[in-house]
């Protein structure tokens, strides 16, 4: 059993331009933002990003790193429309595969099960079929003969995930109320990189939390990064809520200005810039 700990920079050193990248979490909730920021510090681009989108998508789109996005929505939750995503989309900055939330889930499941597709009813009758001409339908081979959408598997070269806790072996734990779809992202990806608030001894994982909080199994995890506050400014319950004030700043600051001010040469520079901003707010 290997020690899989690595740094965020080491994670992104294993990624390449042109890859398909899955990003866990949901909207502005438990997004692997430290890993996304590390990615933004590289020149990796031309990505296909698969995400229930939040500021992860907003930032990568604003920075021009996305060639193609696969999503059902992009939102900051408390701010319904993600302004940087909107701006990028309105200037036709990337290709878009827009599907329904349930179809997206079926795509994750198909990939995790190594199936080419899974049938779903969602999508029929809506413009999902018009705007995604590559989507095909399939007829039930049983006597009902129902026509369903054949949602293709959402394969990924790599998945980026943020967890509450993990051990050095890659067992990942969420302590918040919702696992989102992070285990499926890991199963759908060739390599899964998991940041966490704290790396703890394996025995520590089940001392204060039930075993069903152990969402990620080490067999599906490639690398583990200790990243305290690694979902900031998205929520990572119960360790912290969404930083609404900072999210508002993100949403109202032109991207070049935000990137200049907060996306310095390292994660420590980000933390320092956030601390400085907070002090300015207080003073």
């Amino acid at each position: 059993m290997g020690d899989k700990t690595m740094s965020a920079d080491e994670v992104v050193s294993r990624l390449q331009s042109g890859m398909t990248l899955g990003i866990g979490g949901w909207g502005s909730r438990r997004k692997p933002m430290t890993l996304v920021r590390a990615l933004l510090r590289t020149d990796i681009t031309d990505l296909t990003v698969v995400s229930y989108g939040g500021p992860d998508v907003g930032m990568l789109a604003a920075a021009g790193r996305i060639r193609k996005l696969v999503t059902a929505f992009v939102t900051l939750d408390s701010i319904p429309l993600e302004p940087h995503y909107r701006a990028a989309r309105e200037r036709a900055g990337f290709e878009l595969t827009e599907v329904d939330e349930g179809m997206f889930l079926s795509g994750l499941r198909a990939a995790a099960h190594r199936l080419p597709f899974l049938p779903v009813r969602a999508g029929l009758g809506s413009d999902v079929m018009r705007i995604n001409p590559h989507l095909k339908t399939i007829t039930s081979p049983y006597e009902d003969g129902e026509t369903l959408v054949a949602m293709p598997a959402l394969w990924m070269d790599a998945a980026l995930i943020h967890m509450s806790r993990a051990d050095r072996l890659g067992n990942g734990q969420y302590l918040g109320p919702d696992p989102y779809f992070d285990d499926l992202f890991c199963a759908a990806a060739d390599a899964a990189y998991v940041s966490c608030e704290r790396i703890v001894d394996t025995a520590e994982l089940t001392k204060a939390a039930p075993p069903q909080s152990l969402l990620l199994k080490r067999l599906a995890v490639t690398g583990v990064v200790e990243a305290p506050n690694g979902a900031h400014f998205t929520s990572c319950s119960p360790d912290y809520d969404r930083d609404e004030e900072f999210q508002r700043l993100y949403a109202t600051t032109p991207w070049p200005e935000f990137a200049e001010r907060f996306l310095g040469p390292a994660e420590e520079a980000y933390r320092a810039a956030v601390r400085k901003w907070r002090k300015e707010q207080a003073g």
């Binding site: 939330e101 969602a122 109320p177």
Partner: protein
Amino acid sequence: MSTPETADTRAPLSPPTRAEYCVIACAEAWRGAGEILASPMGLVPSLGARLARLTFAPDLLLTDGEALLVGPDGTPEGWLPYRQHLELVAGGRRHVMMGASQIDRYGNQNISCIGDWSHPRRQLLGMRGAPLNTLNNPTSYWIPRHSRRVFVERVDVVCGVGYDRAAGLGDAARFHGLGRVVSDLGAFDFATPDHSMRLASLHPGVSVEQVREATGFALTVPDEVPRTREPEEAELRLIREVLDPAGARTREVPEAARG
């Protein structure tokens, strides 16, 4: 539900506001729904669902907006993370009230973008769960500002499936059904022979002309249009004292904005 104390010991209630009629009209979406999940999106629908749960639809299930099913006082009674929520939608035991950036006469709804999808003039949320919702469980809509920009002849992108498109799907749409559309002007349903939108009730103070003027398609208007029902005193107290004591509903539906 605990019985409200006798009303005569309290100060008399001021008349219902437009926002409160909207809450009542939203609550009515879940009347008779039974033991299913109510999924309200937005403030006024949330107040409506919780009001229904506290009064005439006590079997409803409600979430805390995250992953818990909670009773009216916030006591958790179940777990509903997103993956289970999506499965529950597919199983149909749910009535959702979504928003709509555009809606047409057959109830086709758009929350994806405005303009040509390939080059949108205004990017909005995206499809979200609208295609899944509308093919699997009853769906209603809440529109806080009734206007021709929202009630359009044709939506730019069909996210939520309307009756005309559902009809074209035949048996695959057997679980399709739209409940009601509630706006700041009135409540609407699809109880017409071709399932096109009909004015079901006007909120007090609103005229048929006003609704016609703010609607971008020809609406079916019955000869006698009922008024949205009056809230009962107990309902009004629940809205004002229990569900929304801070009065956030008035920010979503301002009192003076409409004549």
